[in-house]
């Protein structure tokens, strides 16, 4: 067997790894493995000195393979591939051993964790010797973008891309643009008009020569790969109807037809937003049964229509605002919906200005005023005579009809946390601050575009801190509240970030895609065609004359389903060959 010169680098990750795994013992175990020329540990391999150490060893000690034992490859594989490429090695001559996420963070300090780290390093050393030099493929980048969702995030992203001179197809399921923001009157904390924010954007989108808008339309399928997708969109709920787009440039061609369009795009931004929590699920509040118990969106409607009044048509003498409806609860959604606290304070202001004599109670769990200008807004709200009452988490206030003798329509029973007293709050109007939740169609969309959802249904980003708008599918980005509850500035920032990422790729003109795909040894292929049927991407074609199957590498996404199924063993998964995986198995069990 060919003798390699392998460098093994064990990262201590500050103390994240070193506190649990005996890194020196891992180095000692690695040193004696066949082919290992250098083994060492360092505080942070991903730091500049850490990467320089690897590069220097490649050049000075003639390393031809590198193993980095550190965090998950999902975190820093691209980093270290770049490091070794810059030092003159093929980037695929790297293997990582995940000794942080899958070792030191889940096991206690001691021999077992250290042994596991040693086994994982052994597997990586075994495998890396079998790595082949692979060249990334370069594919053309189509400059058109599909934007799903016409809320503030989708509108912003569309304008950003179109203003830069590139075609955008904006697909909105509803029959109008604006999303949830179109249902809002003023915004917190500066009390400026949501409609002012939207109107200008909607007008520009509608008149923009580079934006084609499809209303009442939804995505049906997304085929292809980064830079080269084909999106099938169609009028929501079957065909026919009149909610079509404002143009027809894309209507012709394959896949077209009445109410159906096939769009060629290079990138996709998913910005489908959220839906509000159904307040009737919490029976304590009597929503849907008691008159004058309304949701925040119903109150917004009242404000926009300029009449804040009870069901009986009078002005409320007492109003109460209840926070965290569906949010921060074990039973419903454990997360905070982030915007409701400030919206609640905004309602107090709106009530005060519309009904100056109104007595307002704000019934909350904790006041979350984390954004720019929000703490100051909270202070100002406290000064306008709003009574703040705290209720306990998972201890919902109970709303009931008041007695005829009372001077109010409703009573809210609260176990008030600060005074530790059971009190009754009078109310003629109760506003429930309903939280955000993932849309019902989010699962369907995630499936079509190939992205994942967390346990609450929010779309998962490529990395929560370092790569917040990219996803595990190259070329598909997420922006706004479909990724998690967030406010307008954060949604806009994400929309612009996603557009920026796409513009950078368009500017380059082409895009590098992973060199990992399957290939068929035509000598070994028996022409049985089992793989033809298995491939979900129709990436395997059959040459009828030669009676052999062939992989179209640009279409292959490297899942390996055909590799495992080939009865002749004629298909190889590059970078995931049988030999490489066998070497790993031998390594972990050595």
């Amino acid at each position: 067997m060919e003798q390699h010169r392998i460098g093994v680098y064990v990262c201590e990750c500050g103390t994240n790894i070193a506190k649990v795994v005996d890194c020196a013992a891992v180095v000692r175990a690695a040193e004696v493995l066949p082919g290992v020329a250098v083994a060492t540990s360092y505080k942070y391999m991903c730091s500049t000195p850490g990467q320089e150490m690897i590069a220097a060893d490649i050049q000075e000690k003639g390393l031809d393979r590198v193993v980095v034992a550190s965090c998950s490859p999902r975190m820093h594989e691209p980093t270290f591939r770049r490091t070794i490429r810059n030092a003159g090695l093929n980037p695929y001559y790297l293997q990582m051993a995940n000794i942080r996420e899958q070792c030191s963070w889940v096991h206690g300090a001691g021999a077992e964790a250290t042994q596991k780290a040693i086994d994982l390093v052994h597997a990586a050393v075994n495998r890396v010797g079998l790595h082949e030099p692979l060249e990334s493929r370069t594919v053309a980048m189509c400059s058109n973008t599909l934007v799903l969702g016409g809320g503030i995030a989708g509108l912003t992203a569309s304008l950003e891309l179109a203003d830069a001179g590139y075609q955008v197809y904006l697909v909105e399921k509803a029959d109008h643009l604006g999303g949830n923001l179109a249902r809002v009157d003023l915004t917190a904390p500066y009390l400026d008009s949501a409609q002012d924010l939207l109107r200008e954007r909607i007008q520009r989108v509608a008149n923009h020569p580079r934006i084609e808008t499809f209303l009442g339309t939804e995505l049906r399928s997304l085929e292809g790969y980064v830079g080269n997708f084909t999106a099938a969109v169609a009028l929501a709920g079957g065909d026919g109807g009149s909610g079509a787009g404002n143009g027809s440039a894309a209507q012709s061609g394959d896949g077209g037809g009445p109410g159906r369009w096939a769009l060629e795009v290079g990138s996709v931004i998913v910005a489908i937003g959220y839906k509000e929590f159904d307040a009737s699920r919490i029976t304590h509040f009597g929503y849907g049964k008691l008159p004058n118990v309304i949701t925040s969106f119903e109150f917004e409607k009242m404000v926009r229509e300029g009449r804040i009044q009870t069901a009986e048509g009078g002005q409320p003498q007492y109003a109460a605002i209840v926070h965290c409806v569906g949010s921060r609860s074990q039973e419903f959604h454990a997360y905070c919906s982030r915007v409701c606290c400030m919206t609640a304070l905004k309602y107090a202001h709106e009530l005060k200005s519309a009904v100056p004599g109104c007595y307002i109670s704000d019934v909350y769990i904790d006041m979350h005023a984390f954004g720019k200008g929000c703490e100051d807004f909270y202070r100002r709200s406290s000064e306008v005579k709003t009574l703040f009452l705290m209720y306990g988490k998972n201890e919902y206030p109970v709303i009931r009809k008041a007695d005829p003798a009372d001077d109010c329509g409703l009573l809210i029973e609260v176990n008030e946390q600060l005074s530790r007293e059971q009190i009754e709050i009078p109310a003629d109007l109760v506003i429930l601050m309903v939280g955000m939740e993932a849309r019902e169609d989010s699962g369907e969309v995630a499936h079509m575009v190939g992205i994942s959802q967390d346990k609450d249904g929010w779309f998962i980003e490529s990395h929560p801190k370092l790569d917040p708008v990219a996803t595990t599918t190259e070329g598909v980005f997420i922006a706004g509240t479909c990724a998690a509850p967030k406010d307008i500035p954060d949604s806009v920032a994400q929309a612009r970030a996603a557009a920026g990422r796409i513009l950078a790729r368009i500017a380059k003109g082409s895009i590098e895609v992973d060199a990992v795909y399957a290939e068929i040894d035509e000598e070994a292929c028996s022409g049985c065609r089992i793989c033809n049927e298995l491939c979900p991407y129709v990436a395997i074609e059959f040459d009828a004359e030669a009676k052999r199957s062939r992989v179209i590498s640009a279409l292959c996404k490297a899942c390996g389903a055909c590799v495992a199924a080939c009865p002749s063993g004629a298909i190889r998964a590059r970078h995931f060959t049988d030999e490489q995986i066998f070497a790993e198995i031998e390594g972990v069990l050595a």
Binding site: G108, A123, A558, G560, V588
Partner: protein, 180 residues
């Protein structure tokens, strides 16, 4: 269920702070005094890159402790897992093999996990013919958000294999070769 499983395999449950590496004292409780003889199974885990490997990473970022028995090998899709991988692992001395993929309907490659689902019973039937105990090979769906589920699966599998004792496949193969 979680608490029960955790107790059964003597793995510490995340405590009050919930962050950082599991505290040393909790870990000390894991190794019950004089239990050095406790059989620690060696499980090879084949995890798909998109759901299950991410789920196992999430167990890490959420500091969800589980038994240090599994050694993970990453594949792009559970459909890549050739039955020979499982046989190879058993032949090399694994006490158990865990196969994890995305939930049905959630495959990153549309339908790879359905292929896994169809192949798995055939593999199980073959293993039964070889006399390999049912519980040594297991298929589980673990999504990218199910770190806790992954930890529970590893703990539960560890407990069951510990009850079975070490796999005899490797010894049997060696004996077989020696006799021949």
């Amino acid at each position: 269920m979680n608490a029960e499983v955790a107790t059964a395999v003597e793995t510490p449950v995340v405590g009050g702070d919930g962050r950082g590496a599991p505290a040393a004292e909790k870990q000390a409780a894991l190794r019950v005094s004089g239990s050095s003889a406790t059989f620690q199974p060696r499980i090879v885990g084949f995890l798909c890159n998109w759901c299950s490997y991410a789920g196992a990473d999430l167990a890490g970022t959420s500091r969800t402790p589980y038994a240090a028995t599994v050694r993970v090998i990453r594949v792009m899709c559970s459909a890549r897992i050739d039955p020979t991988f499982v046989l190879k692992a058993l032949a090399e001395g694994a006490d158990g093999v865990l196969i994890c993929g995305c939930h049905p309907g959630d495959c990153h490659y549309s339908e790879g996990n359905y292929k896994t689902m169809r192949r798995y019973p055939l593999l199980k039937r073959m293993l039964a013919d070889f006399g390999i105990e049912e519980e040594r090979v297991r298929l589980e769906w673990v999504s990218a958000s199910e770190g806790q589920h992954f930890a529970d699966v590893v703990d539960d599998m560890t407990r069951r294999i510990r009850a079975l004792g070490p796999s005899k496949v490797k010894i049997a193969l060696a004996t077989d070769r020696a006799e021949r």
